[in-house]
Symmetry: C2
Subunit: 428 residues, 2 copies
């Protein structure tokens, strides 16, 4: 193991430059820990001339990431460009086909094309590693794939998108609307180029799908993730949920049920006093539950140069040390297709609605819920000045399908003003 490990990096944004800095500044430490030199040989990015604050002239330059991936002086191809296909996928395939291992932070590519890439890697006896794709600096892929590999995993859940958590936290703290905070965050550069990836829950959904694959031995199935972004979360809901002792988080849950694989990435209420309820800003938290270990909770920075580069380095270091793992914790051909099960697991729900201010209105709603077999845990009607009475209901556990039935029936009562809001409650 005394030959250097030669590294090529495609994509020199924040994370890419973070990785370059670590390789430059920590060469002695990395050599002590891996037993060999980690040698950055070649780089590729969109603009060669841009000043990135780090001297890059000592590394071979490629305009084309595919050409970088094919170079003879690269052992590990580090893909930090992003995008579910296009150059990232082409370069990853080229790297595998020419005998390189791949380290990537690209959750979109793996969530959509991961099964094929894993099979391709295994056919070439190469590895594809992606610690940086999920929850930034938290070594959660490693914890799940290796640390808890002696468990039947029962559930994986977490807050995995720092931008959404920032927006929700800021709405609550400053009493601002979603749109106000969205515009502010966008102006500050906190959101992806296509902000829908963040606020639509897509980015977090990608991450959840990757963890679910490892957890349950299933083929990555991003299309099976029930996705709901935070765009419909109102400051009213944040306040009312707060009154009831909850906070709203974009929460992912993956769970194998008798009806199939449940994967949800939706705004949920969690107890304010719980560790998840206390998460603020860009911090991520992932909860791993297994039949042996019960519950392990990991918390840390979900993004940023240092934390994400730390995760990329952990994969590079594993490869340097000779650790060879399959992409999703077992060979790609043994991963089974997952039947999606939409919100199969019962939960309590938070309902907010506006009712016509006339006698019997609340009774009609309560009757509809009762007829759908949904019992009420708590109900509050607030004083109001306009024609409509704001009503909050926290139900006991029910299924999403029973709830959807009840919501449809409520529409027929003639006492509802507008659409009700329904948010799942996770008592973690």
């Amino acid at each position: 193991m005394s030959t250097p490990l030669r590294i090529g990096i495609a994509g020199l944004g924040t994370v890419g430059i973070g990785v370059v800095k670590i390789l430059r500044q920590k060469s002695a430490l990395l050599e002590a820990r891996t037993g060999r030199k980690l040698e950055l040989t070649a780089i590729s990015a969109r603009s060669k001339s841009k000043d990135r604050g780090v001297p890059l002239s000592g590394y071979a330059w490629e305009d084309d990431p595919v050409a970088l991936a094919r170079r003879g002086d690269v052992d590990v191809f580090v893909e930090l460009m992003g995008g579910e296909d296009g150059p990232a996928k082409a370069a990853t395939e080229a790297a595998l086909d020419t005998g390189k291992d791949v380290v990537t932070a690209n959750k979109a590519m793996l969530a959509v094309n991961g099964q094929a890439l894993a099979a391709r890697a295994e056919a070439a006896a190469r590895v594809v590693r992606f610690e940086a794709a999920v929850a930034g600096g938290i070594p959660v892929v490693k914890a799940l794939t290796e640390g808890l590999a002696g468990n039947d995993i029962t559930r994986v859940l977490g807050v995995m998108n720092g931008s959404c958590n920032y927006i929700l936290t800021r709405m609550e703290d400053a009493g601002l609307t979603y749109q106000e905070v969205f515009d502010e965050a966008n102006a500050l550069g906190y959101l992806e180029a296509d902000p829908e990836l963040d606020v639509g829950g897509i980015d977090a959904g990608h991450k959840l799908a990757l963890l679910a694959s490892i957890a349950f031995g299933t083929q990555v199935n991003f299309a099976g993730v029930e996705l709901e972004g935070i765009g419909a979360v109102s400051i009213d809901d944040i306040r009312r949920a707060g009154d009831m002792g909850y906070r709203i988080k974009l929460l992912g849950v993956a769970q194998m049920t008798g009806r199939g694989l449940e994967q949800r990435m939706t705004p949920c209420l969690v107890p304010k006093s719980s560790p998840m309820g206390q998460l603020t800003g860009g911090t991520n938290m992932v909860v791993l539950e297994g039949d042996q270990v019960e519950q392990v909770v990991l918390r840390g920075p979900g993004a940023g140069e240092g934390p994400t580069a730390s995760a990329v380095l952990s994969d590079i270091i594993d490869i340097a040390r000779g650790t060879r793992l399959t992409t999703y914790g077992q060979p790609a051909h043994t991963l089974v297709p997952a039947t999606p099960a939409r919100s199969a697991t019962p939960a309590p729900y938070y309902l907010r609605m506006a009712l016509e201010d006339k006698p019997g209105a609340l009774a009609k709603i309560a009757t509809v819920l009762g007829e759908a077999g949904i019992s009420i845990d708590r109900m509050r009607q607030y004083t109001h000045e306009g024609p409509h009475a704001p009503v909050l209901i926290v139900t006991h556990k029910t299924t999403r399908s029973a709830l959807d039935e009840a919501l449809a029936a409520m529409g027929g009562t003639g006492v509802m003003a507008g659409e009700p809001v329904a948010l799942r409650i996770e008592n973690l």
Copy 2:
């Protein structure tokens, strides 16, 4: 990698039997995840005849763990006997010398003899792995050795002894004295055969010394851990600290300072509202801080059959997958000796004392603190019926040596009744 991995287990207590059960019940899952069969071939324990609730007649039996370690049909020797030397160490050495990898949960053996065992393993091109030795089911050794290997680790801290945390939680909840809860816990079998290992902080100190070695590339130095158990924590302190917004935890901190390696395992005050302050019962929490990743926090069960067996399995699975790591994250001969630095890092302190009820008593104490360069953040004098006035002081940050000087000088004021209590505050 299609040959079976043959496993021998020495020690069939709770954890050993937990490992046997997983190997029996999850053979298909484990084979899917490792690509080979995990085959338990031989076992050893004190009593062959004891009914352990699992059929054991299919495995070869050895009365002598050393004989088990030397067997030709064992690839991995799993040491779950405990004890810093004696049979555990002899068998571990025998296993390494005859070409076996070793998985152990034995923190005492590694904290005291780990440097020699690591060197011995490397000389034989074998590995010694110990995920189960630290923080039960939490994959913290892996997180530190692998997940954060791209970081200069700046600090490691945590609550790593569930029994102590149980005792402190129970004292607070039930308003009982240390001795009452100790007796109760001992009767319930929650404590080690030698309870001092738990309540004296020794067990937790072993764990801290192991993590410090990995974190800082230093030889394990358990003797350098500043140890203070929970035996002197009174229900008064728990109540008074609670009044000030704190809870008392047996907290370990390892930090590299300009003066050397600081390793402390002592009762500390942490904010009640902090995640660490909210830890109850047997749950452990470890905080890893690195220059890149900032802070990663891991929480999970610190003991118990399932969680500890889960950790043992993760090491066995790593070996089955061909992952070969040095014991402390880098070759044993490159680990440097650590100069212990006693409480070098300044911190605020909580002081509780009883003063003679005479004019100027409090002023004398305040003067002594001022002369030692220690400023006071908060001070409270409580009403009292006896001759002595209970006084609480929370200082601003100071060094332990300045504090010790002040405490000595307080003794000379003639206004103190008894010894003052001084506890460090960690604002996590």
